[in-house]
Assembly symmetry: C2
Homo-oligomer: 470 residues x 2
Amino acid sequence: MKLLKSAACGAILFALCISTSIFAAKPISDAQKETAQGLLDDALKSELGFNIVESLTTEVGARLAGSEAEQRALAWGKKLGESLGFDRVAIEEFSIPFWDRGDLELSLTEPYAQHLHGTALGGAAPSKGQIKAEVVYFRSLNELMDVKAGALKNKVAFVDGDLLVKSQTGAGYSNANQRRRIGWQHAERGGAKALLVRSVGSDSHRFPHTGMMSSKEGEWAKIPVIAISNPDADQMRRLHKLGKDVSVSLSSGSKWKGEERSGNVVMDLIGSEKPEEIVLIGGHIDSWDLGTGAVDDGAGVAITTAAAALIAKLPKRPKRTIRVVMFGAEEVGILGARAYAKQHADELANHVLATESDFGAQTVWQLVSNVNPDANAFIDDVAQLLNQIGVVRGGSNVAGGGPDITPLATAGVPTIRLNQNGMDYFDLHHTPDDTLDKINPQELAQNVAAYAATIYLAADSDVEFRLPKK
Amino acid sequence: MKLLKSAACGAILFALCISTSIFAAKPISDAQKETAQGLLDDALKSELGFNIVESLTTEVGARLAGSEAEQRALAWGKKLGESLGFDRVAIEEFSIPFWDRGDLELSLTEPYAQHLHGTALGGAAPSKGQIKAEVVYFRSLNELMDVKAGALKNKVAFVDGDLLVKSQTGAGYSNANQRRRIGWQHAERGGAKALLVRSVGSDSHRFPHTGMMSSKEGEWAKIPVIAISNPDADQMRRLHKLGKDVSVSLSSGSKWKGEERSGNVVMDLIGSEKPEEIVLIGGHIDSWDLGTGAVDDGAGVAITTAAAALIAKLPKRPKRTIRVVMFGAEEVGILGARAYAKQHADELANHVLATESDFGAQTVWQLVSNVNPDANAFIDDVAQLLNQIGVVRGGSNVAGGGPDITPLATAGVPTIRLNQNGMDYFDLHHTPDDTLDKINPQELAQNVAAYAATIYLAADSDVEFRLPKK
């Protein structure tokens, strides 16, 4: 590749080829490599990452977007950043519409009385009293999408589906999750009084996974929408197979409750040579209200903060600014990320690279990227360095960067992603089971190592990750 | 062993030695072995066991002792027994004191507000309004046992402990379970307003395990006693380590509610030659109210009923009567088993062997016994036959027979036990997670095979399992 490139250099491209070939030849200096190796070694021995997520889950716990607990988490984040030697720490506020889960009662009444384990989906409406109705069974979202307008009048719809397959990559989630996202739109069109959906998870525990629905042109569901756990959905399926008429009784207090404050914690290590150029990393500090947000996404906050904190201890700041953002209000529609992109619109062109950790705390196994093709040699070298801790190079044009990076990526910011093994992620996320005990401190330390080395190298580099402006 | 025995035969023991040596030489005939092999083969291919536990959990679900659901379960059991060709099926009623869980609200209020996942322990008193109090931490039950009278006045006690180690045998459970059993007696002596205990389980899910406490000379706790899940107990321990003052707020509606009906379903295959001699097997049909009682103990009901049903299809009834008992009210103090022993006191001397399946539905791996030593050769031969399905012979004087067999064993009835692998049992039992999906149909079929072959051989045998009367 390098030989070919050199051979192709003509006079007209001389200057560009010189510049490209310098990076291609040696994107990372020996001194930088040595520093990165030191970061890897230190991070693997450090308990900082685990201590951070332990502190967040113990001292704050669940922190629903817009809640008082999220405010406490933001204050916790600011204090943490200040204690770890960041050069600049600020809470950047914004406001969001606040949705509250309320209380739920849900039972099968016919053909056999049994309690069902359910939880409201984000954005769902309250039941206004008790709903007692017959259930219409749909084997899949596709079946519900075919329902005729008015065909579900006075009924409750139930959309079944399949147990999510556990995988390293989380394959299948987005597709399965459509029943959570848009099922309500079809149930409402059918005239249903409420919608029950098989919770989207790979576990077989009695905890349904909550999660946000999608609005339809800004409009939210006018009916209660309830996820039920996989074992409870199995029960619904068995009853359907028995050919029995099924009825449920439910009351749900979930509802929108006006505007509340949220915020992002923005923490900078100011670059020593090009402070205006920003390498952004982060996680989201809000969590669903059911668990204590350990894997989703206390881990991401901890990993990226700890990685930057290790870099902060180096004798000299890297050339570019490293910015850690603890995004607020991610779960309810990446509202913190959208606010950030708006509040920082003027400097987005200076965001040279961005990535988020928001896929749990099992080990990083793959480095993918979506950067200027000329920068791929640099990413290749980073991946090679990370190979010693179990990371391989993945696709060079596939990284989305993570949910909170979406608004930046849309604005043209280059992205990478250190892909975590997601084998346990959809067992836990959005359930009460998302707690600290699910995190293996050694695996978390490997994450911190991968982030620290990668981000240091990107920030101390002159490599241009951005595509030239059109 | 056989040679030694023969050599030891003196004139005075002649008759006894003859009789012993007949059994020792060939406790199981070739024809019996062939029939038992056929039962093994059929059982491994049969779905009957799984169908039974599927039906019970789907059509009844949770069935707390003394509840209307337990009554439905008894009717279900009677109908099932009649449909499977038992010669005699009856519900034998008795009455029990009824304890109801009620509703619980439990939260940390200091130093950090967080919700805690708790559930009342069986026999606990209600809170009479809301209790708000400081928590006194005890690392173990032993520490609480040392508490001075009155030292916990106006406090809530929390007894920590360790995560139960997963094991094949369930080792450690009885010991760990003492904090559930008798912790309240020491908390009350200390004057505590309530007791929280780390739930006794090997899982790390957010479901506390309920279970009965022990009464003290017939007296039950006068305070609320609440098990909290392992992740929540971890939180309490972390706060204690941080040296923080911890307070909780709780209200619990659990209470005794007078006498209610319960019952045992007793189903016989009447013996063809010695109908008065009874080989008793069973499981318990009641369950805790939280799950649907699949592994505890729908599985035991299914395994033993299916095993007997396969024997019922043989051309001829075995010599002795095979009795399947679905015991009621086991969870609340083996009350069904006690009622059975009382109601059948006259024929207990004719119970030649008894065993219960009440340790889940993973494969049987060991056959243990507690019978007349002269009958051990027979048990050895049974174990040898079962070796093809993964069963080994265990101790010859250790079998308790199972919880519901205790009153019979105490009355001198010989016992065996087909020990199930309990690796997952204490992850699930007494929690909402005890549902059908946790049962592997193939493993359940192996259980049915082990029971069918063993019980057929015991019932068609002349072997004397009982010790001679003193």
